[in-house]
Assembly symmetry: C2
Homo-oligomer: 221 residues x 2
Protein backbone atom coordinates (compact mmCIF):
# COMPACT_ATOMS: atom_id res chain seq x y z
CA UNK A 1 0.00 0.00 0.00
CA UNK A 2 2.79 2.41 0.97
CA UNK A 3 4.60 1.61 -2.28
CA UNK A 4 1.42 2.32 -4.29
CA UNK A 5 1.06 5.74 -2.62
CA UNK A 6 4.69 6.57 -3.38
CA UNK A 7 4.23 5.59 -7.04
CA UNK A 8 1.03 7.68 -7.25
CA UNK A 9 2.76 10.72 -5.70
CA UNK A 10 5.67 10.31 -8.12
CA UNK A 11 3.23 10.22 -11.06
CA UNK A 12 1.43 13.34 -9.79
CA UNK A 13 4.79 15.11 -9.47
CA UNK A 14 5.39 14.45 -13.16
CA UNK A 15 2.22 16.30 -14.25
CA UNK A 16 3.10 19.80 -15.51
CA UNK A 17 2.29 22.55 -13.00
CA UNK A 18 -0.26 24.38 -15.12
CA UNK A 19 -1.65 23.81 -18.55
CA UNK A 20 -0.04 27.02 -19.80
CA UNK A 21 3.37 25.64 -18.96
CA UNK A 22 2.80 22.44 -20.89
CA UNK A 23 4.66 21.85 -24.12
CA UNK A 24 2.75 23.60 -26.87
CA UNK A 25 2.76 22.33 -30.41
CA UNK A 26 1.96 24.50 -33.39
CA UNK A 27 1.00 22.16 -36.22
CA UNK A 28 1.52 24.67 -39.03
CA UNK A 29 4.35 23.37 -41.26
CA UNK A 30 5.52 26.98 -41.75
CA UNK A 31 6.01 27.26 -37.99
CA UNK A 32 8.19 24.13 -37.87
CA UNK A 33 10.26 25.34 -40.80
CA UNK A 34 10.94 28.74 -39.23
CA UNK A 35 11.99 27.02 -36.00
CA UNK A 36 14.55 24.88 -37.86
CA UNK A 37 15.87 27.99 -39.60
CA UNK A 38 16.13 29.96 -36.37
CA UNK A 39 17.93 27.10 -34.65
CA UNK A 40 20.54 27.33 -37.38
CA UNK A 41 21.04 31.11 -37.49
CA UNK A 42 23.47 32.35 -34.83
CA UNK A 43 22.60 35.15 -32.40
CA UNK A 44 25.47 37.22 -31.00
CA UNK A 45 26.19 39.75 -28.28
CA UNK A 46 25.69 42.77 -30.53
CA UNK A 47 22.36 41.55 -31.83
CA UNK A 48 18.94 43.04 -31.31
CA UNK A 49 16.30 40.34 -31.57
CA UNK A 50 12.65 40.96 -32.40
CA UNK A 51 10.57 38.05 -31.07
CA UNK A 52 6.91 37.73 -31.89
CA UNK A 53 4.07 36.53 -34.09
CA UNK A 54 2.96 37.42 -37.64
CA UNK A 55 3.15 41.16 -36.90
CA UNK A 56 6.89 40.81 -36.32
CA UNK A 57 7.33 38.14 -39.01
CA UNK A 58 5.80 40.44 -41.63
CA UNK A 59 8.48 43.12 -41.48
CA UNK A 60 12.13 43.49 -42.48
CA UNK A 61 13.07 45.30 -39.26
CA UNK A 62 16.81 45.40 -40.00
CA UNK A 63 16.01 47.35 -43.15
CA UNK A 64 13.26 49.47 -41.63
CA UNK A 65 15.53 50.57 -38.77
CA UNK A 66 18.73 50.55 -40.82
CA UNK A 67 20.49 48.31 -38.31
CA UNK A 68 22.23 45.12 -39.49
CA UNK A 69 22.28 43.71 -35.94
CA UNK A 70 18.51 43.36 -35.89
CA UNK A 71 17.32 39.77 -36.25
CA UNK A 72 13.71 38.81 -36.88
CA UNK A 73 12.40 35.90 -34.84
CA UNK A 74 8.71 36.34 -35.56
CA UNK A 75 6.52 33.44 -36.68
CA UNK A 76 2.98 33.65 -37.99
CA UNK A 77 0.45 32.35 -35.45
CA UNK A 78 2.72 32.30 -32.45
CA UNK A 79 1.58 32.64 -28.82
CA UNK A 80 3.65 33.58 -25.77
CA UNK A 81 4.15 29.92 -24.83
CA UNK A 82 5.57 29.38 -28.32
CA UNK A 83 8.10 32.16 -27.74
CA UNK A 84 9.10 30.52 -24.46
CA UNK A 85 9.66 27.16 -26.14
CA UNK A 86 11.83 28.58 -28.89
CA UNK A 87 13.70 31.16 -26.77
CA UNK A 88 16.78 29.01 -26.15
CA UNK A 89 18.67 29.76 -29.39
CA UNK A 90 18.08 33.47 -28.74
CA UNK A 91 19.05 33.46 -25.07
CA UNK A 92 22.17 31.36 -25.70
CA UNK A 93 23.43 34.13 -27.98
CA UNK A 94 23.34 36.64 -25.08
CA UNK A 95 22.01 39.37 -27.39
CA UNK A 96 22.32 43.07 -26.60
CA UNK A 97 18.54 43.65 -26.69
CA UNK A 98 15.33 41.70 -27.14
CA UNK A 99 12.07 43.31 -28.27
CA UNK A 100 8.96 41.20 -27.71
CA UNK A 101 5.47 41.57 -29.11
CA UNK A 102 2.94 38.80 -28.64
CA UNK A 103 -0.55 38.08 -27.39
CA UNK A 104 -3.23 38.54 -30.03
CA UNK A 105 -3.13 34.85 -31.00
CA UNK A 106 -3.40 33.97 -27.32
CA UNK A 107 -6.57 36.07 -27.24
CA UNK A 108 -7.95 34.13 -30.19
CA UNK A 109 -7.32 30.99 -28.09
CA UNK A 110 -9.54 32.58 -25.39
CA UNK A 111 -6.68 33.42 -23.02
CA UNK A 112 -7.20 36.38 -20.65
CA UNK A 113 -5.06 39.51 -20.49
CA UNK A 114 -3.72 38.48 -17.09
CA UNK A 115 -2.72 35.05 -18.38
CA UNK A 116 -0.91 36.63 -21.32
CA UNK A 117 1.04 38.87 -18.93
CA UNK A 118 1.86 35.90 -16.66
CA UNK A 119 3.17 33.90 -19.63
CA UNK A 120 5.16 36.92 -20.77
CA UNK A 121 6.58 37.23 -17.27
CA UNK A 122 7.85 33.63 -17.47
CA UNK A 123 9.58 34.55 -20.73
CA UNK A 124 11.09 37.72 -19.25
CA UNK A 125 12.36 35.84 -16.17
CA UNK A 126 13.80 33.15 -18.45
CA UNK A 127 15.70 35.79 -20.44
CA UNK A 128 16.92 37.58 -17.31
CA UNK A 129 18.20 34.31 -15.85
CA UNK A 130 19.78 33.03 -19.04
CA UNK A 131 21.20 36.31 -20.28
CA UNK A 132 21.34 38.88 -17.45
CA UNK A 133 22.94 41.62 -19.57
CA UNK A 134 20.26 41.57 -22.26
CA UNK A 135 17.97 44.59 -22.22
CA UNK A 136 14.37 43.47 -22.55
CA UNK A 137 11.63 45.56 -24.16
CA UNK A 138 8.05 44.37 -23.83
CA UNK A 139 5.93 45.96 -26.51
CA UNK A 140 2.18 46.34 -26.03
CA UNK A 141 -0.29 44.38 -28.11
CA UNK A 142 -1.84 46.28 -31.01
CA UNK A 143 -5.56 46.73 -31.54
CA UNK A 144 -7.38 44.83 -34.28
CA UNK A 145 -10.39 45.82 -36.37
CA UNK A 146 -13.20 43.35 -36.86
CA UNK A 147 -15.04 45.81 -39.10
CA UNK A 148 -12.39 45.50 -41.81
CA UNK A 149 -12.66 41.71 -41.78
CA UNK A 150 -14.26 39.51 -39.16
CA UNK A 151 -11.82 37.42 -37.14
CA UNK A 152 -14.35 35.16 -35.41
CA UNK A 153 -12.02 34.10 -32.62
CA UNK A 154 -11.38 37.75 -31.75
CA UNK A 155 -15.04 38.81 -31.79
CA UNK A 156 -15.90 41.20 -28.92
CA UNK A 157 -12.46 40.71 -27.42
CA UNK A 158 -11.12 44.23 -28.00
CA UNK A 159 -11.17 44.72 -24.23
CA UNK A 160 -8.74 41.81 -23.70
CA UNK A 161 -6.06 43.73 -25.60
CA UNK A 162 -6.57 46.72 -23.27
CA UNK A 163 -6.56 44.52 -20.14
CA UNK A 164 -3.57 42.56 -21.38
CA UNK A 165 -1.60 45.71 -22.08
CA UNK A 166 -2.31 47.05 -18.58
CA UNK A 167 -1.14 43.74 -17.11
CA UNK A 168 1.94 43.70 -19.35
CA UNK A 169 2.85 47.21 -18.21
CA UNK A 170 2.56 46.23 -14.53
CA UNK A 171 4.60 43.09 -15.16
CA UNK A 172 7.32 45.05 -16.93
CA UNK A 173 7.56 47.46 -14.00
CA UNK A 174 7.73 44.53 -11.56
CA UNK A 175 10.51 42.90 -13.59
CA UNK A 176 12.41 46.12 -14.19
CA UNK A 177 12.19 45.94 -17.98
CA UNK A 178 10.96 48.57 -20.43
CA UNK A 179 7.34 48.60 -21.58
CA UNK A 180 6.70 50.27 -24.94
CA UNK A 181 3.08 51.24 -25.39
CA UNK A 182 2.41 51.13 -29.11
CA UNK A 183 -1.36 50.72 -28.72
CA UNK A 184 -2.28 54.42 -28.69
CA UNK A 185 -0.43 54.95 -31.97
CA UNK A 186 -2.50 52.32 -33.78
CA UNK A 187 -5.98 52.73 -32.28
CA UNK A 188 -8.88 54.85 -33.57
CA UNK A 189 -11.63 56.58 -31.57
CA UNK A 190 -13.69 53.38 -31.48
CA UNK A 191 -10.90 51.31 -29.99
CA UNK A 192 -10.14 49.56 -33.28
CA UNK A 193 -6.97 49.27 -35.37
CA UNK A 194 -6.89 52.32 -37.66
CA UNK A 195 -8.39 51.29 -40.99
CA UNK A 196 -5.59 52.81 -43.04
CA UNK A 197 -3.02 50.62 -41.26
CA UNK A 198 -4.45 47.26 -42.34
CA UNK A 199 -6.04 45.38 -45.21
CA UNK A 200 -7.42 42.51 -43.16
CA UNK A 201 -8.17 44.08 -39.78
CA UNK A 202 -5.24 42.43 -38.04
CA UNK A 203 -1.99 42.67 -40.01
CA UNK A 204 -0.04 45.79 -40.91
CA UNK A 205 0.57 47.64 -44.16
CA UNK A 206 3.95 49.27 -44.85
CA UNK A 207 3.08 52.73 -43.46
CA UNK A 208 1.96 51.16 -40.17
CA UNK A 209 5.41 49.62 -39.80
CA UNK A 210 6.85 53.13 -40.16
CA UNK A 211 4.82 54.14 -37.08
CA UNK A 212 6.15 51.10 -35.21
CA UNK A 213 9.69 51.99 -36.34
CA UNK A 214 9.46 55.57 -35.11
CA UNK A 215 8.18 54.39 -31.73
CA UNK A 216 10.95 51.84 -31.08
CA UNK A 217 13.84 53.63 -32.80
CA UNK A 218 14.92 55.49 -29.62
CA UNK A 219 15.17 52.15 -27.78
CA UNK A 220 16.97 50.34 -30.60
CA UNK A 221 19.81 52.88 -30.72
CA UNK B 1 -18.48 52.25 -92.12
CA UNK B 2 -14.87 53.53 -92.36
CA UNK B 3 -15.26 55.29 -89.02
CA UNK B 4 -16.56 52.09 -87.45
CA UNK B 5 -13.51 50.17 -88.71
CA UNK B 6 -11.18 52.85 -87.32
CA UNK B 7 -12.90 52.70 -83.95
CA UNK B 8 -12.69 48.88 -83.97
CA UNK B 9 -8.97 48.97 -84.85
CA UNK B 10 -8.34 51.48 -82.06
CA UNK B 11 -10.13 49.19 -79.62
CA UNK B 12 -8.11 46.16 -80.78
CA UNK B 13 -4.90 48.14 -80.35
CA UNK B 14 -5.84 48.69 -76.72
CA UNK B 15 -5.97 44.95 -75.97
CA UNK B 16 -2.76 43.81 -74.25
CA UNK B 17 -0.38 41.92 -76.54
CA UNK B 18 -0.48 38.60 -74.70
CA UNK B 19 -2.29 37.41 -71.62
CA UNK B 20 1.02 36.90 -69.82
CA UNK B 21 1.79 40.59 -70.14
CA UNK B 22 -1.53 41.66 -68.66
CA UNK B 23 -1.63 43.23 -65.24
CA UNK B 24 -1.72 40.42 -62.73
CA UNK B 25 -3.43 40.79 -59.39
CA UNK B 26 -2.66 38.61 -56.42
CA UNK B 27 -5.65 38.83 -54.11
CA UNK B 28 -3.87 37.57 -51.00
CA UNK B 29 -3.88 40.39 -48.41
CA UNK B 30 -0.39 39.30 -47.32
CA UNK B 31 0.84 39.96 -50.85
CA UNK B 32 -0.56 43.50 -50.87
CA UNK B 33 0.96 44.25 -47.47
CA UNK B 34 4.42 43.06 -48.51
CA UNK B 35 4.19 45.22 -51.64
CA UNK B 36 3.42 48.34 -49.55
CA UNK B 37 6.34 47.51 -47.24
CA UNK B 38 8.75 46.96 -50.14
CA UNK B 39 7.67 50.23 -51.77
CA UNK B 40 8.71 51.96 -48.56
CA UNK B 41 12.07 50.27 -47.95
CA UNK B 42 14.91 51.86 -49.92
CA UNK B 43 17.24 49.85 -52.16
CA UNK B 44 20.75 51.23 -52.73
CA UNK B 45 23.76 50.70 -54.97
CA UNK B 46 25.54 48.37 -52.57
CA UNK B 47 22.51 46.17 -52.09
CA UNK B 48 22.04 42.57 -53.12
CA UNK B 49 18.35 41.86 -53.68
CA UNK B 50 16.76 38.42 -53.53
CA UNK B 51 13.52 38.47 -55.55
CA UNK B 52 11.16 35.53 -55.50
CA UNK B 53 8.22 33.62 -54.05
CA UNK B 54 7.67 31.83 -50.72
CA UNK B 55 10.99 29.99 -51.01
CA UNK B 56 12.80 33.34 -50.87
CA UNK B 57 10.31 34.89 -48.44
CA UNK B 58 10.87 32.08 -45.93
CA UNK B 59 14.53 32.82 -45.26
CA UNK B 60 16.57 35.52 -43.53
CA UNK B 61 19.20 35.64 -46.29
CA UNK B 62 21.13 38.58 -44.81
CA UNK B 63 21.68 36.48 -41.69
CA UNK B 64 22.27 33.21 -43.50
CA UNK B 65 24.93 34.78 -45.72
CA UNK B 66 26.21 37.20 -43.09
CA UNK B 67 25.80 40.16 -45.42
CA UNK B 68 23.86 43.24 -44.26
CA UNK B 69 23.42 44.45 -47.86
CA UNK B 70 21.15 41.53 -48.71
CA UNK B 71 17.48 42.52 -48.97
CA UNK B 72 14.66 40.01 -49.19
CA UNK B 73 11.97 40.76 -51.75
CA UNK B 74 10.24 37.40 -51.72
CA UNK B 75 6.48 37.08 -51.38
CA UNK B 76 4.51 33.90 -50.78
CA UNK B 77 2.61 32.82 -53.89
CA UNK B 78 4.36 35.04 -56.38
CA UNK B 79 4.75 34.29 -60.09
CA UNK B 80 7.23 35.80 -62.56
CA UNK B 81 4.66 38.36 -63.76
CA UNK B 82 4.28 39.45 -60.13
CA UNK B 83 8.03 40.06 -59.89
CA UNK B 84 7.85 42.15 -63.07
CA UNK B 85 5.03 44.28 -61.69
CA UNK B 86 6.82 45.01 -58.42
CA UNK B 87 10.34 45.33 -59.84
CA UNK B 88 10.33 49.14 -60.06
CA UNK B 89 11.31 49.93 -56.44
CA UNK B 90 14.20 47.44 -56.80
CA UNK B 91 15.42 48.65 -60.20
CA UNK B 92 15.22 52.31 -59.18
CA UNK B 93 17.72 51.57 -56.41
CA UNK B 94 20.31 50.41 -58.99
CA UNK B 95 21.40 47.55 -56.71
CA UNK B 96 24.78 45.84 -57.04
CA UNK B 97 23.25 42.40 -57.63
CA UNK B 98 19.84 40.78 -58.05
CA UNK B 99 19.21 37.07 -57.41
CA UNK B 100 15.93 35.76 -58.80
CA UNK B 101 14.11 32.51 -58.10
CA UNK B 102 10.58 32.02 -59.34
CA UNK B 103 8.38 29.68 -61.34
CA UNK B 104 6.83 26.93 -59.24
CA UNK B 105 3.65 28.95 -58.68
CA UNK B 106 3.51 29.62 -62.41
CA UNK B 107 3.58 25.83 -62.90
CA UNK B 108 0.67 25.46 -60.50
CA UNK B 109 -1.16 27.95 -62.76
CA UNK B 110 -0.51 25.53 -65.66
CA UNK B 111 2.18 27.68 -67.32
CA UNK B 112 4.81 25.86 -69.41
CA UNK B 113 8.54 25.90 -68.79
CA UNK B 114 9.08 27.94 -71.96
CA UNK B 115 6.51 30.53 -70.86
CA UNK B 116 8.21 30.83 -67.48
CA UNK B 117 11.55 31.45 -69.17
CA UNK B 118 9.98 34.02 -71.55
CA UNK B 119 8.45 35.90 -68.61
CA UNK B 120 11.77 35.73 -66.77
CA UNK B 121 13.47 37.11 -69.88
CA UNK B 122 11.13 40.13 -69.81
CA UNK B 123 12.16 40.71 -66.19
CA UNK B 124 15.87 40.35 -66.99
CA UNK B 125 15.59 42.76 -69.94
CA UNK B 126 13.70 45.21 -67.72
CA UNK B 127 16.49 45.09 -65.13
CA UNK B 128 19.25 45.43 -67.74
CA UNK B 129 17.51 48.46 -69.25
CA UNK B 130 16.66 50.14 -65.97
CA UNK B 131 19.88 49.35 -64.12
CA UNK B 132 22.63 48.34 -66.58
CA UNK B 133 25.32 47.91 -63.92
CA UNK B 134 23.31 45.45 -61.84
CA UNK B 135 24.61 41.89 -62.01
CA UNK B 136 21.69 39.50 -62.52
CA UNK B 137 21.66 35.91 -61.28
CA UNK B 138 18.85 33.65 -62.44
CA UNK B 139 18.49 30.73 -60.08
CA UNK B 140 16.92 27.49 -61.24
CA UNK B 141 13.59 26.32 -59.92
CA UNK B 142 13.76 23.68 -57.21
CA UNK B 143 12.06 20.29 -57.38
CA UNK B 144 8.98 19.54 -55.27
CA UNK B 145 7.81 16.29 -53.72
CA UNK B 146 4.17 15.29 -54.07
CA UNK B 147 4.78 12.15 -51.99
CA UNK B 148 5.38 14.21 -48.85
CA UNK B 149 2.13 16.09 -49.34
CA UNK B 150 -0.01 16.30 -52.44
CA UNK B 151 -0.05 19.68 -54.15
CA UNK B 152 -2.91 19.04 -56.58
CA UNK B 153 -2.00 21.86 -58.95
CA UNK B 154 1.53 20.44 -59.29
CA UNK B 155 0.44 16.84 -59.85
CA UNK B 156 2.52 15.12 -62.56
CA UNK B 157 4.26 18.40 -63.40
CA UNK B 158 7.74 17.49 -62.18
CA UNK B 159 8.87 17.58 -65.83
CA UNK B 160 7.86 21.25 -66.16
CA UNK B 161 10.49 22.19 -63.57
CA UNK B 162 13.14 20.36 -65.63
CA UNK B 163 11.95 21.93 -68.91
CA UNK B 164 11.69 25.35 -67.30
CA UNK B 165 15.19 25.14 -65.91
CA UNK B 166 16.60 24.19 -69.30
CA UNK B 167 14.77 27.15 -70.86
CA UNK B 168 15.94 29.47 -68.06
CA UNK B 169 19.54 28.40 -68.63
CA UNK B 170 19.30 29.09 -72.38
CA UNK B 171 17.67 32.44 -71.70
CA UNK B 172 20.38 33.42 -69.21
CA UNK B 173 23.09 32.58 -71.77
CA UNK B 174 21.24 34.61 -74.42
CA UNK B 175 20.96 37.59 -72.06
CA UNK B 176 24.52 37.30 -70.77
CA UNK B 177 23.49 36.82 -67.14
CA UNK B 178 24.52 34.09 -64.72
CA UNK B 179 22.39 30.96 -64.32
CA UNK B 180 22.77 29.14 -60.99
CA UNK B 181 21.56 25.57 -61.18
CA UNK B 182 20.37 24.69 -57.68
CA UNK B 183 18.12 21.85 -58.88
CA UNK B 184 20.71 19.02 -58.69
CA UNK B 185 21.46 19.91 -55.06
CA UNK B 186 17.83 19.47 -54.00
CA UNK B 187 16.62 16.53 -56.10
CA UNK B 188 16.59 12.83 -55.19
CA UNK B 189 16.95 9.82 -57.51
CA UNK B 190 13.23 9.89 -58.33
CA UNK B 191 13.31 13.52 -59.46
CA UNK B 192 11.61 14.76 -56.29
CA UNK B 193 12.64 17.30 -53.65
CA UNK B 194 14.74 15.43 -51.08
CA UNK B 195 12.43 14.41 -48.24
CA UNK B 196 14.76 15.65 -45.52
CA UNK B 197 14.68 19.18 -46.99
CA UNK B 198 10.94 19.76 -46.56
CA UNK B 199 7.97 19.17 -44.28
CA UNK B 200 5.27 19.83 -46.87
CA UNK B 201 6.85 18.71 -50.14
CA UNK B 202 7.39 22.24 -51.44
CA UNK B 203 8.91 24.57 -48.84
CA UNK B 204 12.33 24.36 -47.24
CA UNK B 205 13.54 23.48 -43.75
CA UNK B 206 16.54 25.30 -42.24
CA UNK B 207 19.21 22.81 -43.40
CA UNK B 208 17.96 23.11 -46.99
CA UNK B 209 18.60 26.85 -46.83
CA UNK B 210 22.19 26.05 -45.83
CA UNK B 211 22.56 24.15 -49.12
CA UNK B 212 21.12 27.13 -51.00
CA UNK B 213 23.52 29.44 -49.11
CA UNK B 214 26.60 27.38 -49.97
CA UNK B 215 25.59 27.35 -53.63
CA UNK B 216 25.09 31.12 -53.99
CA UNK B 217 27.77 32.32 -51.53
CA UNK B 218 30.52 32.52 -54.23
CA UNK B 219 28.25 34.78 -56.33
CA UNK B 220 27.14 36.97 -53.42
CA UNK B 221 30.72 37.88 -52.47
Amino acid sequence: MKQLIIILLALIAMIPETQAQQQWTNTDPYYARRVTLFEMLPVGKKDIVFMGNSLTDGCEFHELLGNPHIKNRGIVGDIVQGLIERADPVIKGQPHKIFIMCGVNDISHDVSGDSIARAMERLVVMIKKGSPRTKVYVQSMLPFNNKVREWKLLKDREHVVVEGNAALEQMARRQGVTFINLYPLFVDEEGLLKKEFTNDGLHLMGPAYAVWRDAVAPYVK
